[in-house]
């Protein structure tokens, strides 16, 4: 069935994946394809960005109609910063991994968030370096064993916690086995005006899929605790809205978060009673999850986005990439005037 742009879901696909069969990353690519198709995303406006690693290969496997850039290890955030400044009309979708973001790219990740570069930042988190055959990453469980590398004695870095502390305005965690949730979060993130971080536990079937690993399929399936049921409501679908009370959050109620493009995320609270609009609650629940090895998923933190980096710069409405010659080069008279200052 064609979407509003006349495109089939298959049109949003990319090349054939070269990842291991069953890799969690491939199912995330599938959800990106579905989300883009459902949202009627014009592929020509989308840029796909990544660093280096298994996860960073995936932009070649979705949205073939979009420009893609597989850059260098851990430094995709800087490429994204430059590209989105050059053209503020672009929709940036970035894929990184726990090695890419949690180690070499840690500084760039934090600074990207600090600058509020508008983009979706997906971390496909499997706790392990796949391409170099199974070293621990910085998000690996403390005390975990891997065949070739023995015991991991160091505590994991929580990339969602880092995002919340760093000032991100949209922070979510999901599990690649929970396709529906991944897709809802992706759709909401695409509508967000600012850095939207989605840390998705995405099992590595080759190097880190034993049931005791918190990054495995078995663990995820058994232990995932969704914080809420997420429903993404595209712009225009506003039935029932008036009946929903937004505000005081209490047991069993819905919460609605309006995105700047007119879409909504509707969250139905589950056991944990998490309200993503509270920063301290977000940190508390991340702390609790980390301490007890709980895979708490859903929208962890959301706030009305502050200005994006480009918005702080008083830039012309025309994207910088599309300036005409007279906008790029001051006049001969202006040069003459400048020269007079030095005579």
């Amino acid at each position: 069935m064609a979407n509003a742009l006349g495109l089939e879901r298959a049109d949003y696909r990319g090349g054939t994946s070269t990842l291991c069969p069953g890799c969690g990353h491939d199912s995330i690519s599938g959800q990106i394809i579905s989300a883009a198709y459902d949202l009627n995303l014009p592929m020509w406006r989308v840029i796909k960005l990544s660093g280096i690693g298994c996860s960073s290969k995936t932009p070649a496997y979705f949205l073939k109609g979009s420009h893609g850039f597989n850059s260098v290890h851990g430094r995709m955030p800087s490429v994204a910063t430059g590209a989105t400044l050059a053209n503020t009309d672009l929709i940036a979708l970035a894929v990184s991994g726990d090695g890419d973001t949690g180690s070499i790219g840690f500084g760039q990740y934090k600074h990207l968030i600090r600058r509020n570069v508008p983009m979706v930042y997906i971390i496909e988190n499997n706790g392990v370096y796949g391409l170099t055959k199974g070293q621990f990453s910085a998000t690996a469980d403390e005390g975990q064993f891997l065949k070739s590398y023995g015991k991991n004695d160091l505590p994991p870095i929580d990339l969602c916690m880092e995002a919340v502390i760093g000032g991100a305005t949209f922070v979510a965690r999901s599990f690649s086995g929970d396709a529906k949730q991944v897709q809802s979060l992706l759709k909401a993130a695409i509508g967000h005006r600012g850095t939207a971080v989605i840390d998705i536990v995405s099992p590595c079937v080759t190097f880190n899929n034993s049931p005791e690993s918190t990054k495995s399929y078995d663990y995820g399936k058994e232990h995932e605790i969704p914080l809420h049921e997420i429903q993404y409501i595209a712009p225009g679908f506003v039935q029932d809205r008036e009946e929903i009370t937004v505000g005081e959050y209490s047991e069993g109620e819905m919460i609605e978060v309006e995105m700047h493009d007119g879409s909504f995320i509707r969250l139905k609270k589950l056991d944990k009673g998490h309200d993503p609009r509270s920063r301290s609650e977000a940190m508390r629940i991340l702390d609790e999850g980390g301490r007890d090895n709980l895979l708490l998923t859903g929208l962890i933190y959301y706030e009305e986005p502050r200005l994006t980096l480009a918005e702080t710069m008083n830039l012309t409405a025309t994207p910088l990439a599309h300036l005409n010659a007279s906008q790029m080069r001051p006049s001969a008279q202006q040069l003459e005037d400048v020269m007079k200052q030095y005579m």
Binding site: F69, A325, M328, Y342
Partner: protein, 613 residues
């Protein structure tokens, strides 16, 4: 720490005799004491008197307190290189005064702050002692400015001793501050000191200034400021940077001239400037911006270039235009951050791992900093590759006497970029479009930018192996085809980069080959050598890769002196590496002693070799 500004050179050396409007004045003060303002007042005053002048700041890597020397050279003949000798020393720093007295050339003039402790044990120099405290006793000025104001005392004394008209110093102060109030406060001190000197100092030395007409229509400007203005006229739209001496002021000047790129009607900017978290991010941002279709640049120095190495390999291999200024300082490692060098040449040329070749432009002065400032973007877009511009601390941070800049003589050239309409036309003509396919036989493909509203505009950019259709490939033949095309593209670049400047006379068997800031010292050395019968030819390389003129020049001479300001003779090494002919007629003259080159060094080095012939 001390700088011996005249290593064994006597002022009376033939060809370097000082005289009216022809000597160097050195001011020794403490860093951060505000003496820069006083020194600039002297320079601007001489400039306004029509005397060719240049200034070299020999400063420490320190904010406040360490010794700093500023040399001002007046040259009636228009030579602006650093002069090997110092005829006048203004010794205002307790820490260095003994050495400063010791180092002064015979027949020179010493001006001291009498409040310091020192002994003058020389009889071959003229000494003027200024009782600074007494002179300032009745002066009115904001007391918190005392440390700065003291420096205006030597300006006033110099006005009397060397004939600088008082009113000209006021004009210079006005240009300096742009406001009347600070100009008036400072000028009052200059006047008090001048009057004191008039009443108390008897002129006993032969040095003085005399008005000329040699600076009419000229400008005085730092190379970094010229580069910044040039970049703004070149259409730079995204600047990302991380502060590092001596490149910092380049981006500071982009910001101070940003109004050039503000839409008069809407007040909106056509340029975005980001202070990145480090050089790794700065270069990533400009590569992202270049990929997305805007003109982007950064400015850095050696350590920053090291950090950018990996990313620039990506930009080379993925063929993304951007501009990187390397305002060089002394390396290796942190080296001497406030001293000049041309030591990054070899590193830049092959920057990044694997078989990488980079385009490097080599400006020699402020005028070329402006020109390469805008032209580098056209070259980057035409060649779809990073373009490095290697300036140095001497060009970047010192004041240069220059012709006013010429407005760009070619329109903005964005190279082979296909927008929607051009892409349609391309498909019409070729029935296909592949990003890295060589359709024109020049090694340069056609690119699209993100946001092009066409179903077939997209391609995948990567630093991994790819074929001409921009798809991932590990096939050996795809790799070889791609690398062969990149090499061919680099050959094409030889026809696009600025050609060397050549001064050639077939009668002369000796050639000098150099690049960058050495130019002014070479011009002077050639004139001096010519007066003793040694006529030389000169080629100044303005870019890597070399153009055919370079090989022709080497072939045309019995001996070619390759003059450069780095320790290893890197330009000579590149020439030897790339030459297909014998290069045993090449003699490497490499200095790398932390200071701007002097004519004296070049001339004596060449003489030494010539005498051995």
């Amino acid at each position: 720490m001390a700088i011996n500004l005249q290593p064994g050179v006597q002022s009376q050396l033939r060809g370097y005799e000082p005289g009216v409007n022809n000597f160097s004045l050195m001011v020794a003060t403490k860093n951060g004491s505000g003496s820069q303002t006083s020194n600039l007042v002297i320079i601007r005053s001489l400039f306004k008197m029509g005397i060719p002048v240049s200034g070299k700041n020999l400063f420490p890597s320190n904010i406040k307190g360490l010794p700093t020397w500023y040399t001002i050279r007046a040259s009636k003949d228009g030579y602006t290189a650093r002069r090997a000798t110092t005829e006048i020393a203004i010794a205002f720093n307790q820490e260095t005064i003994t050495e400063d007295i010791f180092n002064l050339a015979s027949g020179g003039v010493l001006i001291t702050n009498q409040d310091l402790k020192y002994t003058v044990n020389r009889t071959d120099i003229t000494v003027y002692e200024l009782p600074v405290k007494d002179i300032l006793e009745d002066a009115e000025y904001p007391k918190d400015l005392r440390e700065r104001i003291i420096n205006m005392v030597y300006v006033g004394a110099c006005c009397h001793i060397f004939n600088i008209p008082l009113e000209i110093t006021y004009e210079a102060l006005l240009s300096q501050f742009g406001k009347e109030k600070p100009a008036r406060i400072n000028h009052a001190i200059i006047k008090i000191a001048y009057e004191w000197a008039q009443a108390n100092l008897k002129k006993q030395d032969p040095f003085y200034f005399e008005p000329m007409d040699k600076t009419a229509g000229k400008i005085l400007i730092e190379g970094n400021e010229a580069a910044a203005i040039g970049s703004l006229f070149g259409g730079v739209s995204v600047v990302a940077w991380y502060p590092i001496t001596p490149s910092t002021s380049l981006v500071d000047y982009v910001m101070s001239h940003m109004a050039l790129r503000r839409d008069a009607e809407t007040g909106k900017n056509t340029i975005a400037i980001v202070q990145a978290e480090d050089e790794l991010a700065a270069v990533g941002m400009i590569i992202g911006a270049g990929w997305a279709g805007s003109r982007s640049m950064t400015a850095t120095s050696g350590p920053g270039i090291s950090l950018m190495a990996e990313f620039t390999g990506l930009a080379y291999f993925a063929e993304i235009p951007t501009v990187i200024w390397d305002v060089t300082r002394m390396g290796p490692s942190t080296g001497l951050p406030t001293r000049t060098s041309q030591g990054d040449l070899l590193f830049l040329y092959t920057l990044s791992h694997g078989d990488t070749h980079q385009i490097v432009l080599l400006p020699a002065n402020a005028e070329e900093c402006f020109e390469f400032g805008w032209r580098s973007f056209d070259i980057a877009d035409q060649m779809q590759t990073p373009v490095f511009v290697m300036s140095d601390l001497d060009i970047g941070m010192n004041l240069w006497l220059s012709n006013p800049f010429t407005y760009p003589d070619t329109p903005i050239n964005k190279g082979k970029m296909l927008d929607k309409a051009k892409l349609e036309a391309f498909f019409e003509e070729h029935k296909e479009w592949f990003r890295y396919r060589d359709y024109d036989g020049d090694g340069v493909g056609y690119r699209t930018i993100p946001g092009t509203e066409h179903p077939r505009a997209a391609f995948f950019t990567r630093g991994t192996g790819h074929n001409d259709m921009a798809t991932y490939s590990e096939r050996g033949e795809d790799w070889v085809t791609n690398m062969t095309r990149l090499r061919h593209k680099f050959e094409t670049a030889r026809g696009v980069v600025p050609k060397p400047v050549v001064d050639y006379n077939p009668a002369n068997p000796i050639g000098i080959l150099s690049f960058g800031s050495n130019d002014v010292a070479i011009a002077e050395a050639r004139d001096i050598m010519a007066t003793s019968g040694i006529e030389t030819n000169y080629l100044r390389v303005r870019a890597l890769p070399f153009t055919p003129e370079v090989w022709q020049f080497i072939e045309q001479h019995d001996r070619v002196y390759v003059v450069e300001n780095n320790f290893d003779g890197q330009m000579a090494q590149i020439l030897r590496m790339e030459s297909t002919m014998k290069t045993n007629n090449m003699i490497s003259l490499a200095l790398g002693d932390t200071l701007p080159m002097t004519a004296y060094w070049i001339h004596t080095q060449i003489l030494k070799h010539e005498e051995a012939q």
